[in-house]
Symmetry: C2
Subunit: 131 residues, 2 copies
DNA sequence: ACATCTGTTATATATATAATATAACAGATG
DNA sequence: CATCTGTTATATTATATATATAACAGATGT
C-alpha cells in the first residue's frame, strides 16, 4: 500500500501512519489477513526510523486492528476479530467530534451541509481503489 | 461561563479551554459582544497559569472568535465578524473528520448511524442552556 | 549449522511542545 | 496614583516526538 507522509505536518508521523493504515482497512485496500511490511522495511521505504513504525504498529495492535505473530508477521485482523462498536468507542467518537462540530456551528454550517460533508467523506473512503 | 478541565487528559489544557469557549459560542451561552474574564482572573479561578489562558485567548483571537481591546477587554466577536465558511476551513474540516470516519467505518458503523450521532451532537450543542 | 530477517527491548540524544514561575512594560480605570 | 489590563521576555520542568545504535530470541531459507 502506498503511504504518503507530510514530515512538516504538526500531526506526528506515527499518527499519520496509523491513520493511513486504518483508512486502508476501511476502504478495503488492506484486506483482512493481508500482510503489512516489517517495521524495518517500511521504515526504510519511507525514510523514517524503525521505532516510529514500531510505535504505530504497537498502537494498532493494542487497538485491535492488526496482529503480530512470530510466524505470520504483521497482518490485518480477520473480519470477525475487527474492533467492534463498543460503548467506550462511541463515547470516544463523540468526544472527538464534539469540538469539530462546535466550530463548524459557529461558522454557520447547517446540519444539512455537515451531513453532506460526512456522507461524502464516508463514501470517498469506502470507494477508494487499490494502489 | 463554567469551565471544566481534565488536567489528566492528553488533550492540552489550552486546547480544552479553546474548545469550551468555542462550544460556548456555538451554543449561545456566550453571546456576541459578551466579555470574557481577564487572563489572570480566569487562570486564578480554574487554578492554572496565566500563560496557559493567554495562549488559548491568543489563538482564539488569531482564528477570529474573540477580540482584545485595551478598553473593552476580551470580548466575543460580533455575529457579522464571526469566522466564515472559507474554502480553507472546509479543507481543514475534512482533514479532521477523515481519520475519525475511517475508524468508525472499520468498526462497522453505518452511514445512517454516523449521521444520527452527528445530528445528535449538533443539536445537543445548539440546545445547551445557560449555566 | 549458519546467516538473515523478524518483533521487541533497552539506552541515549536532540528537538519541540506544554505548563509553570517570575518579572517587567505600557495603556486604561477608578 | 495605585490597580488591573494584555503583552512580552526569560527561565525551568516535564513530556512527547523522532532518531540512533545495540542487543536478544524466535523463525526462515539455504
Amino acid at each position: 500500500m502506498m503511504i504518503e507522509l507530510d514530515l512538516q505536518s504538526e500531526i506526528p508521523i506515527y499518527t499519520q501512519l496509523m491513520d493511513q493504515i486504518i483508512e486502508g482497512i476501511a476502504s478495503g485496500r488492506l484486506e483482512p489477513g493481508e500482510s503489512l511490511p516489517s517495521v524495518r522495511s517500511l521504515a526504510s521505504d519511507i525514510g523514517i526510523n524503525l521505532h516510529t513504525v514500531n510505535k504505530a504498529y504497537t498502537l494498532l495492535k493494542q487497538e485491535g486492528f492488526i496482529q503480530i505473530h512470530r510466524k505470520k508477521g504483521v497482518i490485518v485482523v480477520q473480519k470477525e476479530e475487527m474492533p467492534q462498536l463498543t460503548e467506550q468507542y462511541l463515547a470516544k467518537l463523540s468526544q472527538q467530534l464534539r469540538p469539530v462540530i462546535a466550530e463548524s456551528l459557529c461558522r454557520g454550517l447547517s446540519q444539512e451541509q455537515l451531513t453532506e460533508i460526512i456522507t461524502r467523506l464516508y463514501n470517498d473512503i469506502q470507494s477508494q481503489n487499490k494502489e
